[in-house]
Subunit: 209 residues, 2 copies
């Protein structure tokens, strides 16, 4: 039985009650030596890698060019937003994992696709550095398929509800805008990747000459 | 007198003590109708626009092609990370402002450049939807200059310490990697935009064929 997720209540919580996130008050000395205060939120789950999470930009290609270069996004209900969010496959890094291992694991769990290799990974980057300490790496993975698009089964845990969708890279930006128009909300990092991808294509097409 | 900013103390703070951020406990009903709990952080500053912030991707161009298409990034100490972060010009939306107005104001304050026009704006996107309610728009602005690169003065408030830097769009991704190697940390959204921009160029160059 499947039903639409919904919020029952949302209440202010003390930091001592919270398990996954905490609030911090930072006293710091600024560039003029003046003492100032900054507030931020922090995950309590960071492992010894020092990196909270990874996101995966998968490049799905056919060895015989049976379909255009594609990527995969996931649709997932996120209680903080109370909407279905469109994101790259992503997740927290487990103890003992490298970011690249976490990326390959999350891609396979959330989408079923096994990576053929690592194209590249960004340095550790910060998600919203004015508000939180959260950090991550973006890992670009190759998924090489043979002569047709395959749709492997996800490996979700009980209680995980994630829909996957393959999108042609050349249509990613417009598909994200279409998702928004249908009431979904797009993750900022995915939207920025798609915006950069689209802008390079527009510039190559002579639009800003 | 300028000195290096530094952390004096970082302590757990109760939600009642916090002014800018709060913690929320969300009870929700999942896709199987099971009651679950989620924790998140929330800005307390959101105005009637319903959008917390904007970021600006500026496209700086010369009407006489005196320099290559460029963009501008800022370097800013961020206490939650205790490092200088490389970000797009950005800021919170003031009451009564549209996202596009906030984008033009922030670009001028933080970099001195006056926008010539709005290229596009993304839908409202969410910064880190597993952890916070924070949302934003990315606004792409044109900055049209005449026959040479100009370096207008910033309009910073007292206590604001922001360094601006113009970077050629075609070198953005490599310059962000170079920043990381020098001990700066790059914002995830800027890194994702640059990754998408670079990937489109690599694909156009035949790398994934």
């Amino acid at each position: 039985m499947s039903s639409k997720p919904s919020i029952i209540s949302s209440t202010v919580m003390s930091a001592s009650e919270a398990k996954w996130i905490t609030l911090k008050k930072i006293k710091y000395s600024d560039a003029e030596g003046i003492e100032r205060v900054w507030e931020c939120a922090e995950r309590t789950t960071r492992k010894s890698s020092g990196i909270d999470a990874v996101a995966v930009l998968a490049i799905i290609r056919s060895k015989t060019n049976a379909f255009p270069l594609s990527t995969i996004v996931i649709e997932q209900y996120r209680p903080p937003i109370d909407k279905f969010i469109i994101e790259m496959p992503a997740g927290l890094i487990d103890e003992g994992e490298t970011p690249e291992q976490a990326a390959m694991r999350e891609l396979e769990e959330e989408t079923g696709y096994k990576a053929s290799g690592v194209v590249e990974a960004t340095p550790v980057v910060v998600c919203d550095p004015g508000m939180t300490t959260a950090n991550m790496k973006l890992v670009v993975l190759n998924v090489d398929l043979a002569d047709k698009m395959e749709t492997p089964a996800q490996k979700l845990e009980a209680g995980e509800f994630i829909v996957k969708r393959v999108i042609e890279l050349s249509k990613l930006n417009e598909e994200l805008i279409a998702y928004d128009a249908k009431g979904f909300v797009v993750d900022a990092r995915l939207a920025h990747w798609a915006s950069g991808y689209e802008m390079a294509r527009r510039i190559a097409g002579g639009e800003f000459a």
